[in-house]
């Protein structure tokens, strides 16, 4: 069986959900799921935390047999009256796509004075990035993004898929979820290294809004280094370029960078946009070769498996992910410690500032204890 033909049997995010998140990044005010009421409910509700309304046409068995054109059309009218949106997205589901529902016709029936992005997608694609792609192509057709941005996004999507196949959740048939290493033990190690004067690279390579929490780890390490008088031993890299990506993605980059600045954190190397996590690896590798090859350890947060190990071999690597199925592949890549930030996503939706991470909080608490013990000993 070819490497890319692995039949993955653990559940993973669907193309429908990926399309919903893409609509969110395009700043739609309302997303309509055209299908059964339970489809993608967890993410649909999560996205409501992020400020968009997600509703469903709630197709039932009758709808599967006879179609749901009228239901979609009347729901479009209803949400237009209820929420006064500036941009609407309509997303297909497995049920509506299998029965051959057209999204264009109900949109025309509703005849709203609001642009509508129609995403004919189901969850039966091997790569969930297909949902993103279809949403972006529809957005381009509707004039919401230009062909240049569409082309850029296509390159990123292709590489995101490759990253997942190489070392990520799509790298093997079944991956056992894991909570990773104990946070307080790893926190102790990081603090000890800083105390010993070891040189640290923090590399935040976060996917979009997850950066709000991963950034806190960069902040925590810098706070402790500062308390120890070792701030010059820490170099920070982060993908916070606010000139790249879809509207909401650029907003996240700006918000996080503003918070870094306000907290006095210097980002020495801005490694790309918040949607560029699949392609930052090469840049990070180049920077390490040029400037930081003699560093002792690296703390990589976000999507650590996208950073190649080529130039990290001489360093101890500690990584922080939000994917419990990412632990095994990261360990196999050679990361000494892997930490999982559980429930990261619910805590980073709907926020505009850096939020506390478990690992960041642990570093701060452990540092407080260690420093107190040291002062008592003196």
């Amino acid at each position: 069986m070819a490497e890319n033909d692995i039949s993955i049997i653990h559940p993973r995010p669907s193309s429908i959900v990926a399309a919903l998140y893409t609509l969110r990044d395009l700043n739609v005010d309302v997303a309509i799921l055209h299908g059964p009421p339970g489809c993608s409910f967890k993410h649909a509700r999560l996205l409501e935390e992020d400020g968009i309304h997600v509703v469903t046409t709630a197709l039932d068995e009758n709808g599967f047999v006879f179609g749901g054109r009228d239901e979609l059309s009347s729901l479009l009218t209803k949400v237009n009256e209820m929420f006064n949106p500036k941009l609407i997205g309509v997303v297909g589901t497995c049920a509506s796509m299998i029965i051959g529902e057209e999204l264009r016709e109900p949109v025309q029936d509703a005849n709203l004075d609001v642009p509508v992005i129609e995403v004919e997608v189901h969850a039966g694609y091997p790569n969930n990035t297909k949902g993103v792609l279809i949403a972006l192509e529809s957005a381009c057709d509707a004039g919401i993004i230009d062909p240049e941005e569409l082309g850029r996004q296509k390159i990123l999507l292709e590489e995101a898929t490759n990253v997942e196949k190489r070392h990520g959740a799509a790298s093997r048939e079944y991956l056992t979820p894991s909570r990773g290493d104990l946070k307080y033990k790893v926190a102790e190690k990081v603090i000890d290294y800083l105390k010993e004067g070891k040189r640290c690279l923090t590399i935040m390579n976060a996917k979009k809004e997850t950066g709000y929490m991963f950034a806190d780890i960069t902040v925590a390490i810098n706070e402790v280094a500062s308390q120890l008088g070792m701030e010059d031993n820490v170099i920070n890299m982060a993908n916070v370029d606010d000139t790249l990506g879809l509207p909401r993605v650029r907003h996240h980059a700006k918000s996080i960078m503003d918070d870094f600045t306000e907290k006095g954190i210097t980002i020495h190397e801005n490694i790309g946009g918040m949607d560029e996590y699949p392609i930052t690896g090469e840049k990070v590798s180049g920077l390490i070769t040029e400037k930081y090859s003699d560093f002792d350890f690296a703390v990589i947060t976000g999507v650590p498996h996208a950073i190649p190990m080529d130039n990290l071999q001489e360093m101890e690597v500690i990584s922080v992910t939000n994917g419990p199925r990412q632990v095994i592949p990261l360990k196999e890549m050679g990361h000494e410690n892997v930490i999982v930030e559980i429930d990261l996503h619910p805590k980073t939706l709907g926020v505009n500032n850096i939020v506390e991470s478990e690992f960041g909080a642990t570093i701060r608490e452990v540092a407080k204890d260690m420093l107190e013990r040291n002062s008592e000993a003196v």
Binding site: G67, M97, I98, I99, G100, E101, E102
Partner: protein, 264 residues
């Protein structure tokens, strides 16, 4: 350069759509037109008489095997270069044949570059318009003319009338009615009257001839096996009519009572 003609032929199951479609395709090929026939029926018998009785692999069969399908896998040349494609379908009682048509046609459009070079593309659509998938060729903008095939019997006319309702529903005009005779009393008059009352016209009356069945049994079109037979001439005339027909109207469906009156 003539505009590409993309037609769909609808009608009750077993009324002779595939037979008519393949004979029209052969007649047009005889005239030098570049023709493609896309059979959308799970039976995959639209092209069999253009290929000497041979069945070709269907798009859905290949997709079911998860093969990386290319144009040469699914487009097969038959009589006088007619390009033959069969959509195929799921096993009876499993899945959704309508959705299969959508998926297969999307795949065809993606991998088949020669489709744009055709003068005539015939979609031989299965049976009645029973679900959204069956009108996919029209809804996806792949068809610019729709024809209905019927006989003078009540049930085929009932189906034809229902198809008119479907065409109205999807806002698609009708380009004509074709009668494939079952030797019913007053048949041509009945179908002609029906055509007029729904606002359309009778394009051709194909007489019931044993030679059609005989050629089919041997795996050939009438145009190929019995080109000098009178019915071959009828197909030629129909092909000519279709290639020159530009008119189409939004049909109106009849009440059932009126349908019954027509056939009494």
């Amino acid at each position: 350069m003539m505009a590409q003609k993309r037609i769909a032929i609808y009608g009750k199951g077993g009324i002779g759509k595939s037979s008519t479609a393949s004979n029209v395709a052969a007649a047009c090929a005889d005239e030098g037109y570049k023709v493609m026939i896309i059979g959308c029926d799970p039976k995959s018998d639209s092209s069999i008489t253009l290929l000497g009785g041979k069945r070709i692999p269907t798009i859905l069969d290949l997709l079911r095997q998860k093969l990386d399908v290319t144009e040469k896998d699914i487009v097969h040349e038959g009589y006088k270069g007619v390009k033959c494609v069969e959509v195929g379908g799921p096993e009876p009682g499993i899945g959704c044949a309508g959705r299969g048509i959508i998926v297969a046609i999307q795949k065809l459009r993606k991998v088949c570059t020669s489709i744009d070079d055709m003068d005539l593309i015939i979609y031989d659509v299965p049976g009645d318009i029973v679900c959204g998938g069956f009108v996919a060729p029209i809804r996806k903008g792949l068809v610019n003319q729709a024809y209905i095939l019927t006989s003078g019997e009540y049930m085929p006319l009932y189906a034809a009338n229902n198809i008119c309702r479907g065409l109205i529903k999807i806002n698609t005009p009708l380009s004509g009615i074709i009668c494939n005779s079952r030797s019913v009393t007053r048949e041509e008059d009945i179908v002609k009257k029906f055509s007029e009352e729904i606002g359309s016209k009778l394009m051709a009356f194909i007489p019931k001839e044993q030679i059609v069945q005989d050629c089919e049994r041997d795996g050939f079109s009438v145009l190929e096996k019995a080109p000098d037979s009178p019915v071959a001439g009828v197909y030629r005339e129909l092909a000519h009519t279709i290639m020159s027909n530009e008119g189409s109207v939004m049909p109106s469906a009849l009440e059932d009572e009126r349908l019954r009156e027509l056939t009494r």
